[in-house]
Symmetry: none
Subunit: 546 residues, 2 copies
């Protein structure tokens, strides 16, 4: 064993050898995940995501294609300097040597070595028609390209994995050739040969059958790389594991080209919680929800609310019918304890919800309803009555808490009292719009009249309200409206419908949602704004004054 | 066979008996799908979705729980009057009789009959602990409740399906009891017994094993109802089919409680395209993308861009590496031809509208594009450019036709020319609102200045515009705005986002939809209103004047 080979097996600049080499959790968010439409990562983004993934405990992080992409080259250079990996090894992705050349003379291959990554994934064609059409070489030369490149990189002391692109389609078209690709890679020294469902068209039963056969016929260590075009990427990954694959390639939140890749989070959760297989370091799974959301923030996509295990709705219960039974034994109504993946059960307050869900919700918000049946009954009545008018509290925790506190404390929290407001939208002859709002209110005994402008009437009202109150409540300066949703209720009444507005507000530390309902969008927005500011001041610990 | 039984088997008020009874595509969007956090359907929404699902060709549409929910009761009454189903039968969902009572005396059971639905799905507990904890009765009484209720509904001439709630968890806890529930339902006359993974914790291999065993041990016709908590609902549904289930319960776009239900679209696509099983009427699958997006619009959720088969990204390829190979043989790079599901391959990021779909759309609207490549190209360009700004023409046929005609005819249809407008919303000290709008416009050479009031600023603008134009165009008198939807685009920018408004207008004979996009909701509404009136006059055969 050369010194370089030892480097790949022990601690090196990219971190310790994966402690659980018997089973590989291989993440390709930074390479294949970045193919998702709408994702565009800077080097800094990639470094941040790599830190999150390492903290989460994946064994391998595929960082990109050094040499092919200057950003990826820079990523490998900076990762070597800036990150001390605790769990992961960094992997460089690249192609086999060009047809008719020597691997040692191929600049693309040498750029992979130059990245310093201890592990290299080579992509190889395994579908005969792709060899001819995209590589434009012979089937034999393709095998030679694989054998030579794997052998050369092994000689240079790197661990090598081989991705067999379009494997499942290739296997259907020409099973003998597809298998010869696996055998060639294996015999040349690839540690793992990954069968890729590149077009994503497979179903679990097919994957299981193919992986079983290839494993039996080649003896290679196999991995699986599944795309989600049939909506079965997670199941396909698990089917491959059932058939004997010991290496799974996934991306955080399932990001990837077209529909996406196998989602790392439900795959590792299934392996740990359903298979009882330890594939992450002790305690990692509890960080899953946080890591998922953190990575979504870095790539600048809203975290999917309905993602398995980690979505904010993943353990949300709506039906009031079951609320009393849930109180007795929550595990009858959830497939796992949400705390195992760092998520929490939520009871949604809705018109279907009864007393039990209001009590549970109170507990969740830290408001003690102390088994006071009359009080709980009053809250339930008010929620029902308001929901009949179009309010929804399942998506407006802050408005619900204000309502709850009003019943518990006997009076509403008030920091200001509004006398009146007015919003004007004007379409000018030159095609532009003028938006102006005036607010008249009282706070701490003072009458305040302010005017605000904005790019819309709600923005103008927000600016007027903020300007009016900021001097008295400087805490409001850091509040920011981060989301705004409008829903027209009773949709078949044209513009005479009731309008519901949901506003999300942030103070930099947390976010809360408020609701307003009125016969027009401006008035509904105003209500939600009032609640948003009131709740913001409550959160900041300010005493009510009105 | 009683007369009522015959009704269930032949054409009735709810439509013809499913032509493909050997395999059931059963949709529960309106019942279980509506449990999704953030979905709140009006009766009108439910009727619209039912029409879409029937057009798509599902065999059964579960409409809700009549009697338990006044909105659902109204839905069944109105569906009977307003919809003539082409493919689907309507299904009422409800519970077995109460413990210790007679089915015939149970008002909940009789409400199911009163709905008039020819098919009834009864939910039954099949997990022993749920019987004790949630139903609070004995295991034997639960079986009697199932047997009695099924038998009673059969006597009344209804077809009965039984949903075994928590079946898979129940089977793990007490397989003998779980199977006795299936056997009881089957022997009492239930046509299909559905095994439900209510908590969604199963994986495909488990589902397949349990369905196989239960099928062998009970001889009942089995169905599957899978929740997506492990991210495997589609695969679990297919695993059940592999094991012999012949009835799949799904929801459009996978809407449902927590993470959601098995998504109807990838399930039927897999059955039709991967299994070669005909489960929808001829030609339906090609409507899948359109139906998926239309239902998303009704429930007011952004269609998922990354949904398998129907997402706008589902067949999007980053141009470059494989571009030339894709041109030679696109099927090497996609698992199915996207046209099979009404979707399109995209090589570039932005556009939804390809030339083919514009031509097709033109044909659909009766506007001859006559194979004029330059003209089609100009339309595609304009659509692209407008869609980049946030317009959507999928849900706004009338605005698209106006755009198309403008390109074909070389100028826009204009019946009036707006100089300016202004809307004022005032919150008065007594808590009421005043909404007033002034519109200045030119029509047939005349300058018109009118003012309107309304219950909101858009309604006030509508009234002002109508009053101003009605004398000149009396055809406008019969126009009515029947639907109004607001969507905030780029959701994370608070009230400074772009706003899209969709308006549906009726003239008593037909309905058309128009779109407006602007930096504020009033200006966006105004655009959609202008298009709505213009299109109404075009429909009425009025010659443009401006």
């Amino acid at each position: 064993m050369t010194q370089a080979t030892e480097n790949a097996d022990t601690a090196g600049p990219f971190g310790p050898r994966d402690a659980h080499d018997a089973f590989h959790v291989f993440d390709t968010t930074l390479r294949d995940g970045a193919q998702r439409e709408g994702i565009n990562l800077t080097v800094a983004d990639k470094l941040t995501i790599a830190r999150h993934l390492d903290e989460f405990g994946v064994g391998f992080i595929e960082g990109g294609w050094p040499g092919a992409n200057p950003r990826d080259t820079e990523f490998f250079a900076r990762a070597a300097e800036e990150i001390t990996f605790k769990n992961a090894q960094l992997v460089a992705f690249g192609a086999t040597r060009r047809a008719g050349a020597k691997a040692a003379d191929d600049p693309q291959v040498n750029a992979l070595l130059a990245s310093g990554a201890p592990v290299i994934t080579l992509v190889a064609k395994s579908h005969d028609r792709h060899v001819e059409l995209a590589l434009r070489t012979t089937l034999d030369e393709n095998l030679a390209m694989i054998a030579d490149t794997v052998a050369y990189l092994r000689e240079q002391g790197r661990r090598v994995f081989v991705d067999c692109e379009h494997f499942f389609d290739g296997y259907r078209a020409n099973p003998a050739y597809a298998k010869s690709v696996v055998r060639t890679a294996h015999e040349a020294g690839a540690d793992v040969v990954i069968l890729c469902d590149t077009n994503g068209g497979m179903l679990p039963a097919q994957v299981q059958a193919v992986v079983s056969t290839v494993l039996a016929d080649t003896g290679a260590r196999l991995g699986i790389h599944a795309q989600d075009d049939t909506g079965c990427a997670v199941a396909n990954t698990l089917a491959a594991v059932d058939a004997g694959a010991t290496h799974v390639q996934c991306t955080a939140n399932g990001y990837g080209e077209r529909v996406g890749n196998a989602n790392l989070f439900p795959v590792v959760a299934a392996l740990e919680l359903k298979y009882g297989k330890r594939v992450l370091p002790e305690g990692s799974l509890k960080e899953m929800t946080r890591i998922s959301h953190a990575i979504a923030e870095v790539v600048n996509l809203t975290p999917s609310t309905h993602q398995p295990y980690v979505g904010v709705s993943a353990f949300a219960h709506k039906a009031g019918l079951h609320a009393s039974a849930i109180k007795v034994d929550p595990d009858l109504y959830q497939h796992i304890d949400p705390e195992l993946v760092g998520n929490t059960m939520r009871m949604l307050v809705s018109d279907m919800a009864g007393r039990a869900s209001v009590e549970l919700k109170g507990k969740e918000l830290g408001v003690d309803l102390g088994g006071d049946r009359a009080l709980v009954g009053r809250v339930v009545e008010r929620v029902k009555e308001r929901e009949l008018k179009g309010y929804t509290y399942e998506a407006a925790d802050a408005s619900f808490e204000l309502l709850l506190r009003e019943e518990v404390e006997g009076r509403a929290r008030r920091y200001f009292r509004v006398e009146s407001w007015r919003a004007i939208v004007e379409d000018l002859p030159d095609g532009t719009h003028a938006n102006e709002a005036t607010v008249k209110l009282w706070a701490k005994g003072e009458r305040i009249v302010t005017t605000g402008e904005g790019n819309g009437p709600v923005n103008a009202l927000d600016n007027a309200l903020r300007r009016g109150l900021e001097r008295i409540y400087p805490q409001l300066a850091k509040l920011e409206l981060v989301d705004y949703k409008v829903r027209i209720l009773e949709g078949r009444h044209g513009t005479e419908s009731t309008t519901r507005v949901l506003i999300s507000t942030s103070d930099g530390q947390g976010e809360w949602a408020t609701v307003g309902v009125a016969d027009n969008v401006i008035a509904a927005s105003w209500q939600a704004l009032e609640d948003a500011y009131t709740y913001g001041l409550l959160r900041a610990g300010v005493e009510p004054t009105e």
